[in-house]
Point group: D2
Chain length 333, copies 4
């Protein structure tokens, strides 16, 4: 039985508690929030769970094996560190930490104490991303050319992070998950119109092997778009996450280039065949992730979304911020 303490019961916390509660061999024993109303809601929903406003009580509790840190990103490092120091495994909301240095320190601490870190890259557990990973792993797309994502909508403005830290971690964790190419250079452009934080931004990441990722994030779009194009040598994939059905479409389309007679004489030909929209598993992502966390703790297996995965995302976010501040200057990782 894994006993969880959950710190943070705001927007995302209730989903975390509900999902961990429903995993076999797991129970949430304590919930912490500085907001008393949030605690009352937690108490009403789960009368048996202890509540507290003091995070120290959670990390130090003898009734807690693992701590879920579901708080603003600038608090992650300190809370996770305290938990690890008290010998607790940690499950940390994305993005992992505010800086790569913090992430490295937490990873080192966890390894020293033989504890697990899981970063809540929830999207990796959706049916859509699992299908994309499967399709890529099977080689159906061939060598990947690009990952191009548009993730825009109206709001929700954050007060502590810009739109890149808010929305880009989704795509960065997905790209990290589906390719073995390494990110090399980051370029971020964008603008801040309202509260001093960038409210729209465009991030390019150059990878090894000529792969390129581009992420368009925007809090000021009148329409909600969640569309990712994934181009490969053999086939191409479109993931439209706001579609009710057929979220993923795999196109038997592509371009073949062959040499003609002369040196400049490349013959380009286009292929266009059927389109397949595979059935997507509908299981709630967070439910699958919670089960996976408990399973990793039980078996000692290292999760794929561990601290290192979290660190790789934070490194790109840090570089993006640096590039953005310098007007789009390329930042080498």
């Amino acid at each position: 039985m894994i006993r969880m303490g959950v710190i943070g019961y705001g927007y995302w916390g209730p989903g975390i508690v509900r999902n961990f509660q429903s995993v076999n061999d797991c129970q949430v024993t304590v919930v912490c929030d500085t907001n008393l109303e949030a605690l009352q809601r937690a108490k009403r929903a789960y009368p048996a769970i202890e509540v507290t406003t003091d995070p120290c009580a959670v990390v130090a509790s003898p009734n807690v094996d693992a701590v879920a840190v579901i708080t603003p990103v600038w608090t992650h490092y300190e809370l996770a560190k305290a938990a690890l120091e008290h010998g607790k495994h940690v499950f940390v909301e994305k993005p992992f930490t505010s800086t790569a240095a913090q992430a490295e320190e937490l990873i080192e601490l966890a390894e020293r104490k033989n504890l697990q870190i899981m970063v809540d890259h929830t999207f990796l557990f959706t049916g859509a991303v699992r299908k994309i990973r499967e399709v890529v792993d099977q080689g159906m797309l061939g060598k990947l050319y690009y990952y191009d994502s548009t993730r825009v909508n109206l709001g929700l403005f954050q007060h502590d992070v810009n739109v890149i830290w808010d929305l880009a971690p989704h795509d960065l964790s997905i790209v990290d998950h589906i390719t073995t190419e390494k990110p090399e250079v980051v370029i971020a452009t964008g603008q801040s119109h309202l509260n001093g934080l960038a409210d729209l931004a465009f991030v390019t990441v150059y990878f090894t092997g000529k792969m390129i990722a581009h992420i368009n994030v925007n809090w000021l779009s009148p329409v909600k778009v969640r569309m990712t194009l994934l181009g490969g040598e053999k086939k191409m994939l479109v993931w439209n996450d706001v579609a009710v059905d057929e979220k993923i479409k795999i196109y038997d389309k592509g371009v073949d280039v062959t040499s003609g007679n002369g040196i400049y004489d490349l013959l380009v030909s286009y292929r266009s065949g059927d389109m397949l929209a595979p059935r997507i598993d509908q299981t709630e992502a967070l439910a699958a992730e919670a089960r996976y966390f408990v399973e990793c703790l039980s078996t000692g297996q290292r999760p794929f979304n561990d601290g290192h995965a979290g660190l790789r995302v934070v490194r790109i976010l840090e570089a993006a911020d640096q590039s953005l501040k310098q007007g789009g200057r390329p930042v080498t990782l």
Copy 2:
């Protein structure tokens, strides 16, 4: 009566001839192409029009008042220059020239000889862009925050220019047309997978007044997307050019930021009202543009899509190429 000579009867040329032919007070007198089959097609369609393989015969012809240069971009400068030197007005396919220096020289030459230059920024004559311009001019959107365009599809690979020079001039000419803000810095990223020319690219242009433009162009997309988001202080607009109906949607949506009590205490509120899809005029863009060219020649009125407009677009293209070659380094205009 304006007598036109048309150089280039490949992909775009037949549309040019057909449209200029149908303008009152205008007739195409000679068509030139180095491809004999193209000339045969022209002759079959218009038995009365003279055909030639020699562009010099066109620019020097006493039966020609204006020359349309509908050839690959690297030939524009020389052909337009010859036409101007022979006292002919010119209508030049976009992009205007290969370099800003060439464009400047042509402008100077035309002004010296009191001749007109029109650059074929066809999109400015579509019902959609005319409606966007009208909406912006009426102040319906308020101060513009951003222009974000996605212009992707499979092919058509060009052999002489990369995807930026092929597809971005559309958006650059539109942004130039609808705002008075000035472009200041260009950042372009992208990748070349097949024939050595960038086949997908992401261009950011920083403008004065915190306006920002972003253009996503891609020859390797399995789906055709032509979607532009235009965000303003008051309202927001979506232009979906592949939609059969309702190409333009104007959203009464936005974000208001007011100061709260403390310095960090900005209150963000969202507005969400009706959506209006205005009726779009269906006139063929090129027909309107041809009429406008003939009208400008007749009245001496300077067209808004003159050499200077063409130059402004070429300057950004040049900067984009430079930035792309330097791995995304910001290039100041």
Copy 3:
């Protein structure tokens, strides 16, 4: 304070309880179901509510002012009658009853005992239908020509009623709500492929004033379609209920017919203007309906979705069944 007893805690019942619970001046005091598991779920969710397997205990309870009958349609008459006879107001799931005769008897009984009947025509309380009613009432569409609805999806097969009784009541209650024209003749065609009950059907209702309604219902469609066309003399409306946004679009389109010179010489001209997608109120329909029920009970106001409204729908359903059984023969109301 209105005290509600709810009979039936299956698919729809929990929503009923939740919504009535959250109305001011209303509380659910007892929940009844023959399924013990359902009662356990109710008890867990609402520890303070009494549960019972005996509907008689509900209708006879001194702690109940009104009874919600959320059970299969063939049980409505008996349960509602018992409730009315015990002096309780009733809220009855749609369709109201299995026969028009039953509905008439209940109406008569309620009037004699000065009690209220509300039939749960939930769709009338959605933002979309309220907007349609508003648009029609304002005369924006002009005289109504037709109401044409497609309401198809895969499943959910019912065991006691065919697809007409399952899905058509929505549209029939909406048409009844937005027009004052009277239904005159019903024609229903359809087919039964699986369990002996019609699984797809097409219902036409001729109204006075040349208005016509058509309803296409289907349990065997691979895609979910919820689209209604509403044509009027002046404008036309499309209601797409599966759209995430812009569920209602009002088209400034129409046809004008004027007499030409000869008797057969009608000149038809088409109008095509802007399209407006009005903002739709997002309030949960059932919440609004529950509030309205409590308000009607408090003020004595007769609800628009009263027994008579329920009866009008049942009459058309009965006629549709009769027509269907007779191979599509027209049935006069």
Copy 4:
């Protein structure tokens, strides 16, 4: 070499001439129209073709082997009869004739004189319908349950036929083409709001084998819809003809019914798998049809869209008209 005479050069005639002209071993020798402007247009486009206002000159011409009758439906019988009597094969615009009796007489005449009749059911030659036929023939859908088509838009009002005769022949010819089940009963409802002819109508056709077809046609719809659902025992197909891509989607979805313990205890289960959008051939339908006509004349092969196919469609149209006039009464074929 097949020499064609074309009677009727209005809306559809130019496409007919252009396509027959481009078939090898075929040439259009004469075009007839009572409208002189139409003839001038024909002459300009095809200087070598003879033009005439006299249809007799076409049917009697020694330079004509086959006559295409591209005129209003009420003239088909007389023109086709005259052509056949003069020993010419005929290609007749759909619908074949105004009455089944006329169609039978033409078929008898053609057979007696050993001449061919082809009815222009153009849709059968589209890539989409050919793919549907292929999918059905391969048994991919299993036994067909239903064909449900919505074919609505604003206009184009006809002056001589109602909306059923204008739009339903497309679907009726397609259903006839893809199933061997026989139509048995027709029910048509509808209404006329403007010029005395039904402007919207709903046609149900009961077939043998529990197959049912439903066709929704409407000249008064603000939006253009061309959507057909085709439900089968094994899979289901959606044909959206206004979609730019992916016009046909094949869903691995369905319902299985198995007997449970009791007599009323049918267990319904739903299957939901992948969706496939097969590549659709883009060849112009009329080009393929023209080639097929010439091929049938050359080889003596009887076309599948022969007079009998035309007759089968006309019989249903006649029955639909009869049903419509009688307020929806079922008409047995």
